[in-house]
Symmetry: C2
Subunit: 412 residues, 2 copies
């Protein structure tokens, strides 16, 4: 019953095997660049970052108040206040030189001001009353180190702040700036060649000819590659031609791209040439995944470069780009540990999946409600509505409505 030009998948790999094959072949790139700290958000640290100074860099007051010797406040209370001589004032940013706190004297200090010599505690301004410019009443007893931040108590110079492979968010950038970093060594953004393929695709903005559709896969990939911290470079669409694909992929794989992504051509039809092209040019590592969607996903190494051929249906392309390509691109970018954002919710409708396939069910998650939105793989509007997916592993045929399920968010 074999069909002469139908070339079925012989051996589908599981999702786990596909990921592990990709991770065996794809390592973080080894190029870095130095970026200014004000441009470093979302970049990946290329090497460990250690504190350049003690943090805080000097012992300082954590409050507006009066720096004094804590032992002088023993027995002091609102009912039994004590008068202190004010011998000076220190603002934030001023050096506490030529000033020494001795018994029953104090120095007025602003939050962040250096703690003057002799003092070991600060009484908050709220717990004092000024008598005149030279005297203040103190109403509370304080212990040593009250309202004082010791030099280096947060981090000492040389302490590890962040490891290579960590992603710099606003919080981490704040820590680096506080430690004196004005620039930082980060991974370059990997270059991703996106090759739209297919006789039927037309560039958006141009007139549709009969039987043609607008290219959407390469625009999905452009956006997702950028979100994964890489630089996408989109090529002009290529027709389904063995020769044209061979020469294009051969050429692109010898240029300075870190990974090549084809938008279609991995299926079983007469004009699906990806498998033939990739086998001819390099080593086909897997052809077909035991997943729904995602079966016609291929991976090969050509001229030392990874080449992924995505499923041609836009919904399938989008799902596989999230579940397979995104983790790979994060790894390529140097990210030490990529994990999608997972949430939990209650499934509103039964979902079914073929027993021998690992399914990724597109869902719309709002609050705790998880609504499957996948209908047919060529209903592209699905991916404008779904914000995550539920996995149904091999061996499970159905998840019933009402059960709590884990949802992994798309695009994170």
């Amino acid at each position: 019953m074999a069909h002469k030009e139908f070339r079925p998948f012989d051996e589908l790999v599981t999702y786990e095997v596909a990921l592990s094959v990709l991770f065996d072949c794809i390592k973080p790139i080894d190029r870095f660049e130095i970026v200014s700290i004000d441009k470093a958000v979302d970049r990946v640290l290329f090497e460990d970052a250690c504190a350049k100074i003690d943090m805080p860099p000097f012992t300082r007051s954590a409050m507006d108040g009066y720096a004094l010797i804590s032992a002088d406040t023993i027995g002091v209370s609102p009912e039994n206040p004590k008068k202190f001589k004010v011998i000076g004032r220190l603002n934030a940013g001023e050096a506490a030189t030529d000033i020494l706190v001795s018994n029953n004297t104090c120095v007025e200090v602003a939050t962040g001001a250096e703690l003057p010599s002799g003092a070991d505690a600060v009484v908050r301004i709220e717990d004092t009353s000024q008598i005149n410019d030279e005297e203040v009443l103190i109403f509370v007893q304080v212990k040593p180190m009250t309202n004082v931040s010791l030099r280096g108590y947060d981090k000492h110079r040389g302490d590890l702040l962040f490891s290579s492979g960590e992603v710099l968010n606003a919080g981490k950038i704040g820590v680096l700036a506080a430690s004196g970093y004005d620039k930082v060594k980060v991974y370059e953004r990997p270059k991703v060649a996106i090759l739209p393929t297919g006789d039927e695709i037309i560039e958006p903005g141009r007139e549709l000819t009969r039987g043609s559709i607008y290219d959407s896969n390469s625009y999905i990939l452009l956006a997702l590659v950028a979100k994964a911290g890489c630089q996408p470079i989109r090529f002009p669409p290529v027709k389904d031609s063995f020769q044209a694909l061979c020469s294009l992929i051969n050429k692109v794989s010898t240029e300075d791209y870190d990974i090549i992504v084809m938008t279609a051509g991995g299926s079983v039809g007469k004009r699906d040439f990806a498998a033939d092209v990739l086998s001819k040019l390099g080593e086909l590592k897997f052809r077909g995944m035991r997943t729904r969607p995602g079966m016609p996903t291929l991976f090969a190494m050509v001229n030392g470069k990874p080449v992924v051929s995505m499923p041609g249906h836009p919904v399938s392309c989008y799902v596989v780009a999230n579940v397979l390509l995104f983790p790979v691109l994060r790894r390529l970018s140097g990210v030490l540990k990529y994990e999608p954002i997972c949430k939990r919710g209650i499934l509103k409708k039964d979902v079914e999946s073929p027993k021998d396939f690992h399914a990724f069910i597109a869902v719309s998650l709002h609050g705790k409600e998880v609504t499957p939105v996948f209908r047919y793989s060529d209903m592209i509007s699905t991916i404008g509505v779904a914000n995550g997916y539920v996995e149904v592993p091999i061996g499970i045929e159905k998840i019933e409505a009402g059960l709590e399920v884990e949802v992994k968010l798309f695009e994170f």
Copy 2:
């Protein structure tokens, strides 16, 4: 007991009131730009986007197989196959002109190929066997519309795809491209003036002088403003001087920024001039929030422009930037409905909060474990470790370890 230069907050607003005052004063900007669809990721739609064409644009085959008249397959099965005459072949991208399927004939079709006239169903190639170039055996009975995608069954031309205020992710961009959009009208990115203030701050990369610290707040804000989809513009640091602040804010508020953010100066110390400056120049809408951290947060309107003064402690600045500024910036950017990403987990340690304050407890969430990492507001390393926060509303003093809590992720 009053202190002559201590100006305590008279009336702290609750977090909810602060947000609602900000939302009353701050509306989405009214400027748009046209961007190419390949640059549109993370941008906010300025106007509703409707389908430019029917999707799919023509009735097509959803599979590789044979297009035929479904009624001709009645009674057909693997045991009782039926021979069909193959009268043509249609690839994806080809127009199905000059071809008509009549009884007991069929046309070989590729996935995505136009359904030829006369046919009303497609038999998958897997359910057929080719006899020769002109004949094929069909092994299954199919119903009308099997493996057929009707023109416009996903969306009709003119149907609403996305509303003004929706954020364009990769999925939505794919839908727009498929519908023929090569460019799209999006909100401009609001311009955010960031004014670092403080006598004690030094630019990272320069030598620290005694008593000084490196500026980190403005770098935290730069990164977070960018993540919120706005354009941050950082000004050189300004000293704590009433006059200097007055003239700077007066000037900046008449330039083309959409919001002004000061990094400090809103507290109760002698050299905290933000409240005085903002009252003099415009209308102080609130001075101080009943939150921990975040008390010294101020908001004013000056020359018609919103001005927010952030708490000076970097940890407080970071938390308030997330809980207050981020939603405001999303609104300014045109986002219809901003919601942080919430997850649930089990609290590993008790957290306490003053009864009269709404607390935001920085936590590190890993898997289901929620570990509070907040120690002191001047331990800036906290914000390099925490990835979310737990809220403890006014009236609650303690949440005990072991309870399930909601964690809102920072920076989303």
